[in-house]
C-alpha cells in the first residue's frame, strides 16, 4: 500500500532509491547544462549574478511545482490552467487591487493572490473529482474561462507593480520558492502525502483500503491552486507589471518540466524537487540556446528537439534501471 513501506521491505534505502529513480536524469542534465553555461557565458553566470538568474527562472519553477500535486494524484490528473491562473492573479493583483482599489500592502495582496489560487484550485477540484469531468477537459474549461476573464479586465499590458513586489524579482525571489518548498516539505510529513501517492499509484486499491479518493484528489487541486497563485506573484515580480498574454504560455512548458523532472504523468511517482530541477533544466537550456545568438526559429527547433530527446533519455534510463534490479 504505502510505497515507502514496500521499498523498506525490500531492504533498500528508500530516500536514495526514490531520489535517484525520480530525478536521476534531470540532475545529470542539470550538471551538464550548468557546466555548458559556465563555459559559454562565464560573465552571465558569475556568483554575483546568480540572484538575478534565480529571479528569471522563478516563475517557471513555481509553475512546475504547482503542476505537480495534481499529476501525482493520478488517473489522468493534470492541471493545464496553471499558466492562465498565473496570468489571472497577475492581472487582478495589479489592475484591480493595486491600481483601481489602491491596495498596496503585501499583508493584503499576498493573501488575496493565494486565496484566488485556492478558489480556482477548488473549482478545478470540484469539476474533476466531484463532478468527475476528465481533468484535462475540466482544466481546459478553467483555462479558457481564466484567459477570457483576464483579457476582459486587462485588455492591454499595464504597470507598475508595487515596489515591494518588484523587489522580489532578483535574489529575493528565492523567498517565495523557499516557502513553497517548506509547505511541500510539511505536506510530506502528513499522512495525506502517503494517501496522495497511494491514490496516484492505484486508486482502486487505495479506495478499498479506506482512503477517501475524492477528498485526496480535491485537496491536490487546491494545493496546486495555492502554488499557482504564488507562482502568479512571482511572475508579477519578474515582469514588474501586468500582462494578460504571458501567463498562459507557462502551462505547457511547466508540464514539460514536470515530466523532465521524472514525475510520472500516470501518477504516484516523483515529487516537487524533481519538477523544480526539470524547470531549472529548461531554463538553463533556454539560456544556452540564447548565448549561441541564433534566430528564435532555430531556438524553437532546438528547444522542441531537446525536450523530446530528454524525455526519451529519461525513459531509456528508467528502463535500464528496471533491468538492473
Amino acid at each position: 500500500m504505502n510505497p515507502r513501506l514496500l521499498v523498506r521491505a525490500r531492504g533498500m534505502n528508500p530516500r536514495l532509491l526514490s531520489l535517484s529513480r525520480s530525478v536521476g536524469f534531470a540532475v545529470v542534465l542539470l550538471v551538464i547544462l550548468l557546466a555548458v553555461n559556465l563555459i559559454l557565458s562565464p560573465a552571465r553566470f558569475t556568483p554575483g549574478s546568480w540572484g538575478a538568474l534565480v529571479g528569471l527562472a522563478a516563475p517557471l519553477i513555481g509553475a512546475a511545482i504547482a503542476s505537480t500535486p495534481v499529476i501525482l494524484a493520478g488517473r489522468g490528473g493534470i492541471d493545464i490552467s496553471v499558466g492562465p491562473l498565473m496570468g489571472f492573479v497577475n492581472a487582478v493583483v495589479i489592475q484591480v487591487l493595486f491600481l483601481k482599489a489602491g491596495i498596496s500592502s503585501p499583508l493584503l495582496l499576498v493573501p488575496a493572490a493565494l486565496l484566488i489560487g485556492a478558489l480556482v484550485g477548488a473549482a478545478n477540484g470540484f469539476l474533476a473529482t466531484v463532478v468527475r469531468i476528465q481533468p484535462i477537459v475540466a482544466t481546459l474549461g478553467t483555462y479558457l474561462i481564466l484567459t477570457g476573464v483576464t483579457l476582459t479586465i486587462l485588455p492591454a499590458p499595464i504597470g507598475p507593480a508595487p515596489a515591494w513586489l518588484k523587489a522580489l524579482a532578483g535574489p529575493w525571489s528565492i523567498l517565495p520558492l523557499a516557502v513553497m518548498f517548506l509547505v511541500w516539505w510539511l505536506v510530506r510529513r502528513l499522512p495525506y502525502y502517503d494517501q496522495l501517492m497511494a491514490v496516484g499509484s492505484d486508486d482502486r486499491a487505495a479506495y478499498t483500503a479506506g482512503v477517501d479518493v475524492t477528498r485526496v484528489r480535491f485537496i491536490a487541486y487546491v494545493i496546486a491552486g495555492i502554488f499557482g497563485g504564488c507562482a502568479g506573484l512571482m511572475l508579477t515580480a519578474l515582469i514588474g507589471s501586468a500582462d494578460p498574454n504571458i501567463g498562459p504560455t507557462y502551462t505547457l512548458i511547466a508540464i514539460a518540466a514536470v515530466a523532465l523532472g521524472g514525475v510520472s504523468l500516470a501518477g504516484g511517482r516523483g515529487g516537487v524537487a524533481g519538477a523544480a530541477i526539470g524547470a531549472i533544466d529548461i531554463f538553463l537550456l533556454q539560456s544556452v540556446l540564447t548565448t549561441f545568438n541564433v534566430s528564435t526559429f532555430v531556438l524553437q527547433i532546438a528547444y522542441g528537439a531537446i525536450l523530446v530527446l530528454a524525455v526519451m533519455l529519461t525513459a531509456l534510463q528508467e528502463r535500464l534501471a528496471m533491468r538492473a534490479r
Binding site: V137, G141, Y143, L146, G148, D203, G304, V308
Partner: protein, 322 residues
C-alpha cells in the same frame, strides 16, 4: 455485460451532443435575426467541416488512449509549405503529395517515439510540433508567401455550390469522408484493434495487436488529416499563415470530448466528434452573434464546455470500477 452498457452510454452521449447542437441552433434562430439564413448556415457548415477534418485524427488517437498536440503545428506546416511551393511554380498535386508524405512521417515519428519508449504522447507531440513549426519558420524566414490554387479556394468557399446543392464541395465530401471513417472504425479489423488497444493496452498485445504499429499508423493518420485541414484552410483564408492552426489545439480535444469520447481510451466515435464539432461551431457563432468580445466568447466557451461535459460526459466513481 460491460460492452453493452458502454455502447449504450456512448450512444446516449452522442445523441445528447446532437440534441444540444440543435437546441443551440434554435436558441440562435430565436435570439438573433438572420441566424438561420442560408448564408449563415452555409458559413457554419464550412467552419464545422474544417474543424471536423482536423478532428478526425484526434478522435482516432483519443480512442487509442493517446492525445495529439501536434495537430495545430502540422496544420500550420501544411498551410505554409503548400502555399510556398505552389507559389514557387510547383504542380499543386505534387505539392499535396509531398505535404501528405511529410505529414505521415511526422505523425509516424510521434507514434513511434511515444509508444516504443512508453512516454506520454502529450510531451512528445508537443516537442515534435515545436520542431516542425520551427523548421517551417526557418525555411520561410518567418514570412510565408504564396497562395492557394483557385480549385482549392472554390472547394471551400462559403459562397460556392456543389452541383445542385447550395454548399461548397467541402461539405458533401466531408459527409462521404465521415461515413468512411465511421465504417473503418466500426467494420474493419483496424477499428476493432483501435478500440481494443484503447480499452486495455495490457491485454491487446495478447490478442496479437502490435501496439507500436498501431500507434505509428494512427498518429500518421492524425497528422495526415491535420495536413489536409491545413491545405483546406489555405483555400479558405487565401494566404499562408503559420499560426492558422493554433485555435485547433484545444478545439479538436474539446470536440472529441463533447462528443462523448474518454481521454483514457477505448471509448468514442467519429459521429460523436461530428456532434461535438457542431456544438462548438454553434456556440461560437451564437456568442459572436450576440455581440460578445472574443475574450468573453473564450470565457463563455470554457464555461459551456464544462457545463456540457458535466451533463453527459461524467466519469464513473472509483467505487464502481472495482
Amino acid at each position: 455485460m460491460a460492452g453493452r452498457n458502454l455502447f449504450a452510454t456512448t450512444n446516449a452521449r452522442v445523441i445528447g451532443a446532437f440534441c444540444v447542437a440543435t437546441l443551440l441552433h434554435l436558441a440562435g434562430a430565436v435570439l438573433i435575426p438572420g441566424y438561420s439564413s442560408p448564408f449563415a448556415v452555409r458559413a457554419m457548415l464550412v467552419l464545422a467541416s474544417l474543424l471536423a477534418v482536423a478532428s478526425i485524427g484526434q478522435t482516432l488517437v483519443v480512442i487509442m488512449g493517446g492525445i495529439d498536440l501536434s495537430i495545430p503545428f502540422v496544420i500550420g506546416f501544411a498551410n505554409v509549405v503548400a502555399a510556398q511551393l505552389y507559389g514557387d511554380g510547383w504542380n499543386f498535386v505534387l505539392v499535396c503529395g509531398l505535404v501528405g508524405v511529410l505529414a505521415l512521417v511526422i505523425g509516424g515519428l510521434n507514434g513511434l517515439i511515444s509508444r516504443s519508449l512508453d512516454i506520454q504522447p502529450l510531451i512528445v507531440t508537443l516537442g515534435i510540433g515545436m520542431v516542425v513549426q520551427g523548421l517551417v519558420l526557418l525555411w520561410t524566414a518567418g514570412f510565408p508567401s504564396g497562395s492557394a490554387p483557385q480549385a482549392v479556394s472554390s472547394f471551400v468557399s462559403i459562397g460556392g455550390s456543389a452541383g445542385p446543392l447550395p454548399v461548397p464541395w467541402l461539405v458533401p465530401s466531408l459527409v462521404v469522408l465521415s461515413a468512411l471513417v465511421v465504417l473503418v472504425l466500426e467494420r474493419t479489423p483496424y477499428g476493432r484493434r483501435l478500440y481494443a488497444l484503447g480499452s486495455n493496452p495490457g491485454a491487446a498485445p495478447l490478442a496479437l495487436i502490435d501496439p507500436v504499429r498501431m500507434w505509428i499508423v494512427t498518429y500518421a493518420a492524425s497528422a495526415f488529416f491535420a495536413a489536409v485541414a491545413g491545405v483546406l484552410l489555405l483555400g479558405f483564408t487565401g494566404s499562408a499563415y503559420g499560426d492558422v492552426g493554433q485555435p485547433y489545439l484545444f478545439q479538436t480535444i474539446a470536440a472529441v470530448v463533447v462528443g462523448g469520447a474518454a481521454l483514457v481510451g477505448g471509448r468514442g466515435s467519429y459521429l460523436g466528434t461530428i456532434a461535438g464539432v457542431l456544438v462548438l461551431t454553434e456556440i461560437n457563432t451564437l456568442l459572436i452573434g450576440l455581440g460578445f468580445q472574443p475574450s468573453a466568447v473564450q470565457a463563455a466557451l470554457g464555461l459551456i464546455i464544462v457545463l456540457l461535459v458535466s451533463l453527459y460526459g461524467r466519469e464513473r466513481h472509483v467505487s464502481t470500477t472495482i
